[in-house]
């Protein structure tokens, strides 16, 4: 990948039907299982070889990580508390990397087309530094005003600026979806998130009040609610709002739909089903906490503080199962029009992101859902071996 002087040989197009990603297994060795210690070691060895070969990217990676040092401190509490609404944000890095990985063939084709058609200095092959410089200025401004949303946005722009300067406009266009997903790492104003959490908490408590025989609900500090039930009271805060569960679930659903390039309607159904499940679980949790509080306060508190992100993941998986079931019952529920993320990548995507190559080589994390869905599909086919009901045509 030519990125400096003296110019290097342009990467060749990926061989037809094969992979250009160096195999993680030495030639002639037995096929390794998709996740094993030997594979991890082999992947790490290859990653280190790649790093040694692509050392020039350290010029970018190290200062970029340094630039994240202060904003990460500002966001630390929200990122490390698993019940905070924004606890999903650190995972956006991984999600974006996997999205880029899933598009590596498109990127490779695009790059090959550009390299064969245009000389290295053509404006379609190279961008300029304007975006990067503007992003750096915005970063400095954000440190003067100490607004973490602006700082994180500037860092997203920096990444975009680097890709634009090195690879040009066409590659940036090809990376639109991953970069738009990357924007989810920008924290919204605290008041917006707190406001939504309070609304969801009020609604959840209103629904849970009947089974708990609630007599009064009073606001407390930190946007909490003191719920009076008979002769005792329980304080609920953002942990039990349900907003955090819904937000995590929607982001996870979005990533899943983008990664697997599914039918958007299926994504909407999935998000709605998952959110309903998540809110239902949250209300059951509130009722359980209210019931357990006078009997076992420690357990009630543990239940109250159970990480919302884990509940969201569980509800997402349950929603996937439910959607499979529903799509088999009725054609009106959109089925996922899947195109499984294709096989190995090539030198271009490795040059774009050695980290993505590492993640793919280490565990093929993106394949986890594909494998589980295939198994599920086979199981459900056996269980519901019947024809779907087709909607009757209208009679005039």
């Amino acid at each position: 990948m030519t990125t400096g002087t003296p110019p290097r040989a342009e990467p060749s197009a990926p061989p037809v039907g094969g992979s250009t990603v160096p195999s993680t297994a030495p030639p002639g060795s037995p096929r390794l299982r998709w996740f094993s210690t030997a594979r991890v070691r082999a992947s790490l060895r290859e990653f280190l070889t790649l790093l040694r070969r692509e050392q020039q990217w350290l010029w970018i990676v190290v200062p970029y990580l340094l630039a994240w040092f202060v904003p990460a401190q500002w966001c630390w509490y929200q990122w490390t508390n698993l019940s905070q609404p924004l606890a999903f944000e650190p995972w956006i890095f991984l999600g974006t990397g996997l999205l880029i990985w899933s598009r590596r063939q498109d990127l490779a084709h695009q790059w090959n087309r550009l390299t064969t058609k245009y000389p290295p200095t053509h404006r379609r092959r190279r961008g300029n530094a304007i975006l990067l410089v503007a992003a750096c200025i915005l970063y400095l401004f954000s440190h003067i005003v100490q607004v973490k949303g602006i700082t994180v946005f500037s860092l997203v722009l920096v990444a975009l600026g680097i890709v634009y300067q090195v690879y040009g406009r066409e590659i940036v266009k090809a990376l639109t979806i991953p970069f738009l997903f990357f924007l989810l790492i920008i924290p919204p104003p605290d008041s917006a998130a707190d406001g939504m959490a309070v609304r969801f908490l009020n609604a959840s408590l209103a629904i849970a009040s009947r089974p708990l025989h609630v007599t009064s609900i009073q606001p407390t500090g930190n946007n909490g609610r003191l719920v009076q039930m008979g002769d005792y009271s329980v304080e609920f805060d953002y942990h039990a709002s349900g907003f955090n569960i819904v937000l995590h679930l929607c982001v996870l659903t979005l990533w899943y739909v983008l990664y697997r390039r599914l039918n958007p309607a299926y994504g909407v159904y999935l998000a709605v089903v998952g959110s309903v499940l998540g809110l239902g679980v949250n209300i059951v949790r509130i009722v359980a906490v209210g019931y357990l509080h006078p009997r076992n306060q420690a357990l009630a508190e543990a239940l109250h503080r159970f990480p919302a992100i884990l509940i969201a993941v569980a509800c997402f998986l349950a929603a996937l199962l439910l959607m499979r079931l529903l799509s088999r019952i009725s054609l009106r529920v959109p089925a996922p029009a899947t195109r499984v993320a294709a096989g190995a990548g090539n030198a271009v995507t490795m040059a774009i992101s050695p980290l993505i190559w590492l993640l793919s080589s280490l565990g093929h994390l993106g394949r986890l859902f594909t494998l589980s869905e295939r198994k599920l599909e086979a199981g459900l086919t056996r269980l519901f071996d019947r024809k779907k009901k087709k909607p009757q045509p209208r009679r005039r």
């Binding site: 400096g4 350290l58 010029w59 340094l66 202060v70 440190h143 003067i144």
Partner: protein, 229 residues
């Protein structure tokens, strides 16, 4: 360095150097904000005319909500039993800058009046005077607070703009942040307040009391800033 940045090395190296400089300057800004919060005057008067000062330390919970700055809390009492409360907070990062219009209002008070004026003569700094009101739930009588608030730098310049809102007050934050990072300002937030006596309907005596204490504090901070600079 500039030549290397513009023409030397590979494009990735040039971008990396630019990023490195940017990241370093960003970290430097955080250090400067910490420096801005390192000034807490040690000459806050114990007596002001007929007023006797009594230390009333600010609670740890409140300080934690403000980002754990250095702080002085004091109450001035005169022979008539009138009291004026003072808090001085070292202002470093913006989480130290809690505005009374938000914090006092958050405790159920309504802002009913606000005015800026020069505290100690034509060449002095500007302060913000506010009146808050709340109806006492048990007696039904109104409770009123008169508060003077300002941000004072070592060089005796003051500011009264709210900077709590991330986006709403972004220009004010930029001015304050520019002062801290580029000009090296060290700042204290000063609040001087008291409850209006129900008999002092127009607040004349109350204002006189608050103004006397405020002027003494302004002069003390100015003197401390000049002596240590």
């Amino acid at each position: 360095m500039a030549k290397m940045l513009l023409t030397g090395g590979t494009p990735l190296a040039r971008m990396g150097v630019l990023l490195g400089i940017t990241a370093t300057l960003g970290t430097f800004a955080s250090v400067r904000f910490k420096h801005a919060g390192d000034w807490l005057p040690d000459n806050v008067p114990q007596e002001v005319g007929v007023w006797q000062g009594v230390d009333t330390p600010i609670s740890k919970a409140i300080l934690a909500s403000l980002g754990a700055p250095q702080a002085i809390g004091r109450k001035y009492v005169n022979a008539l039993g009138e009291e004026v409360y003072v808090s001085i907070i070292s202002a470093g990062a913006f989480e130290n800058y809690h505005d009374p219009t938000v914090c006092v209002a958050g405790n159920g008070f309504l802002l009913t009046g606000k005015r800026n004026f020069l505290l100690d003569g034509p060449k002095s700094g500007e302060v913000r005077a506010m009146v808050f009101r709340q109806i006492n739930s048990s007696t039904g009588a109104p409770v009123r607070i008169l508060m003077y608030y300002w941000q004072q730098n070592r060089d005796a310049t003051t500011a009264t703009e709210p900077v709590m809102g991330n986006y709403r007050d972004i220009l004010a934050r930029f001015r304050t942040g520019f002062g801290a990072v580029v000009q090296g300002h060290q700042t204290c937030l000063v609040r001087v307040y008291t409850f209006l006596d129900p008999d002092d309907e127009k607040g004349v005596q109350t204002q006189r009391n608050v103004e006397e204490i405020s002027k003494a504090l302004y002069r003390a901070l100015k003197e401390n800033g000049e002596s240590q600079s």
